[in-house]
Amino acid sequence: MKTISLKLNAEAEALAAEARAFFTTALPDNLREQVKRQNTTLPIEEQKDWHRVMDARGWGGHGLPLADGGPGWDDEVYYAFLREMALADVPRPMLYGLRMLAPTLAKFGTADQKARYLPGIVSGDTMWCQAFSEPNAGSDLAALKCKAVLNGDHYVISGTKIWTTEAHVSDALFGLFRTDSSGRKQAGISFLMMPIDVPGLTIRPLHLLEGTHEVNELHFDDVRVPVIDRLGEEGDGWRLAKFLLEIERLESAEVSRSWAIYRTITEFLSSEAAATRGICDDPGALDQLSKLHQRLVSLDAQERLLVKRGEAALREQAPFLKLLGTPLFQDLAEFLMILVGVPAQIQLSEQERQGRPVLGPDTATFAAASFYLKRTTSIYGGASEVLKDLIARPYWRKA
C-alpha cells in the first residue's frame, strides 16, 4: 500500500507559515479584494508590480530549479506555497510564462534561449501567452494547421490561432506550428517563440459569455520568426507540448481556489443579506453546503495524497483531479449565485461599479460573473469528455 498520510513534510509546513505571514502583510488590499471577487482580468501592471514584490522576496521563480532562477523546492513545498497563495486570495502567478514555458525552457532550451527569456519570466517583466488551439484543433490539438515554412534562417507563419488567453496584454507568445504535413499528424509540429508585436500578427478580441475579454483570435500573416527561437528540434513540438501540459498538474483541480469560494459562501450565509432572505439556517442551503464541503474535503485529500506520493503519481492521476475539481469549482460558483438571488444578474464592470449603489449584497457584483466564467474550466486544458477517453485508453491495452 502506498503512503496514506496527508501530513506535509516539515520544510513545507515551515514555508507555508512563512508565506502566510508574507501574504498577509505584503499583498495590497486592493489586489486581494479583486481576487476575492473572482476578477480574472486584473490590470496587467498591477500583476507585474505584485510579481516584482514576490521576486524581491525570492519567490519570483517559484516552481523552478535553483539553476534556473527558482528556489528549487520539492513538490510538497511547492504545493504548500501554491495553496497559501490561493487561500490568501493572492493573484494567480503569470501562468504561461512562469508555470509552463519556464520549466520547458529549462529542460529543452539552449543556453542562449534560457539567458534571453528566463530572467524576464522570473522578474515578472515579460508576460507570455500560449498559442496552441486553432478553430479546428482544440481538444484534438494534433490536427493543428497553422503553417510555419522554413525560409533561410527564419520561419514564415501563416494561419489562425484561437482561444489565446491574455494575448492582448502579453509581451510575447509561444505556440505550436505545422512545419511538415507529410507524416502522422503528431509529427511535423514545431514549438516557436516570438514577441507579441512581431509584424504580421493581429489580435482580435473574443468576449466570453459574461462579457470578459480574456481570450483572443490571432491571425498570422507571413509572420517571420528566427530559427534560433525554435524550442527543441524541428518536428519535436508535440513532445514538448505534452511535457508543458503535464507540468500544470498541481493546480489543475483548483482545490485551494475552491476553498476560497467556499469561504465566501459561508461569509455570505452569515451576512445580514442572507438573514433578510431567510437562508442563514435554511436546511436546504445547509444540505447543499454540506455536500459541496464533502466533495471539497475529499478532493483536497486526493490532491494531497498525490503530492505525497510524488512525481509519477501526480502525472498519472492529475487528470482525475481536474475531472472532479472543475465541476466542483463550477458548482460552488453556481451555489453562491443562487444564494444571492436576482441582484447577481445585474451586469456591472469594475469601472461601472464605482460610485453606483449596489443592489443586493456586495457578493452580488461578482457571483453570476463567476458562475458564467467558470463554465470554461471544464473545457480548457482538455475537456472533461476528452480526458475520460484519454484516461480509459490504457485500461484495455494488451500487456
Binding site: 500500500m1 502506498k2 503512503t3 496514506i4 498520510s5 496527508l6 501530513k7 487561500l87 485551494s256 476553498w259 467556499y262 469561504r263 459561508t266 461569509e267 450565509l269 452569515s270 439556517d281 445547509l286 444540505d287 453546503l289 454540506s290 464541503h293 464533502q294 474535503v297 475529499s298 478532493l299 483536497d300 485529500a301 486526493q302 494531497r304 495524497l305 492521476q317 482525475f320 475531472l323 472532479l324 469528455e385 475520460k388 477517453d389 484516461i391 480509459a392 485500461y395 484495455w396
Partner: protein, 380 residues
Amino acid sequence: MSTETDFVALIGDTANRFLRDQYGFTDRRPDDLSRTFDRDRFWAAFMELGCQALLLPEDADGAAQDVTAALPVLEALGQEVLTSPFAVTAAVAPLILGNAEEPLRTAILKKIAAGLHRLAMSAEDLSLSPSAPPTTLEITIHENTIALNGTTHMVIEAGQASAFLLRASRSGSVDRFVFIPAHTPGISLTDYNLYDGSSAATIQCRDVNLPSASMIVVPDDMALNLANRFALCAVAEGLGTARRLWSELRDYLGLREAFSQRLSNFQVLRHRIVDMVSSLNAIEAGLAMLVEAESGRDDRDRRKLIHTALSEFRAHGIKVGKEAVQLHGAIGAMQEHVAAAGLTRLTVLNELAADQWGNERAMKALLQQDILNGTVSPLF
C-alpha cells in the same frame, strides 16, 4: 509511520497471497452460500500469519505498529469479500482492552496475539451515529463482582466469538465496557444472518456475574476513538472490495461482446469505468482522512474528518457496487457473482459503520457552528 515499511509490506503481501490462494472468492463462494464454509478452520489458519498481533503492544507479544500496518490486511480481506472477526479483534477491541486492569489486560491481549481470541462488539458502540435499537445493558457493582442485565443488539459475528466486549451503563456513572467470555452463564444469543453472509446477534444478559476486573473504565474520548478506528477498518476493507469489483468489471468489458463489438469499445462504458476509478480514489481519500483523524487533531476536526470519510464511503462504495452489478448485466445480480457479493458487503459495511442520516445531520451541525463562529477553514 504512514509510509510502508518492509515489515508491513511483507505482512500485507503474505496475507494477500494466503487469502487469494487458499480462500479466494471464486473457490470459496459455494461454501459461503451453502453455509458450510468452515470459519473456525479459516480463522485458525489466518491467525498463523500473525496479522492479529500487528497493532498490539510489545509487552503483549505484539508488533506495536501503528494502525496503517493493518490496512493491507484489511484490504486483502476486502479483495476476497471475506467477512471475519479480524477488524474488531485485532484493531478495535485493543483500544478498550489497553485500559483494562492488570493482569487481565496482558492476559487478554496475549491471547489475541496468539490467535486464541475472537472478539465481538456491537455496531452500536462503534459508530458516532448508531441506527440500531438502543442498548439497555445495565451493570450493578458488588464488592468483588459485577452483575449484568439487559440487552445489546447488533453484536457483529457474535456467534463465532470467544468473548464479547460490550458497553454497559450504570445510573449516575460514565459508561464502561465489560469483557464477557462467550460461555458465561446467563447469556443468550439470538443470531441473525446479514445479506453479506456475515452475522450479528442480539445478546441478552440475565444476572450475568463476572469478576470486577472484567469491567473496563475508558477515557471520555473512547467513543470517538472507537468510531474512528472502526470506520477506518470498514473503509479499508471496502476499498479492497471496491478495487476487486472494478478490476473484474474492466476484464469483463474487455472480453464480452455485444452488437459484434467488445463492450470496452463503447464510449459510455469507458466513461463509466473512469468514473468508478474516481470513486476508488474518493474512498482511498476517505481512508487517508481517517488515518489523519487518528493522529491527534482536536475533536471537532476529527468528527468532521470521520463524517466526511463515511459520507464519501457511502456515496462511492455503494456506487462502485451498483455499477459492477449493472454493467455486468444479469450475471452480476446472481448470488454467485463477485459483483453481487461485493455490493452486499459494501452496503453492510456502510450501514455498520454509520447511520447515514445521523452522519450527515451531525456534519451539518458542525458546519453550521463553524459559520456562526466564523471559523471556516480547510481541514488540512
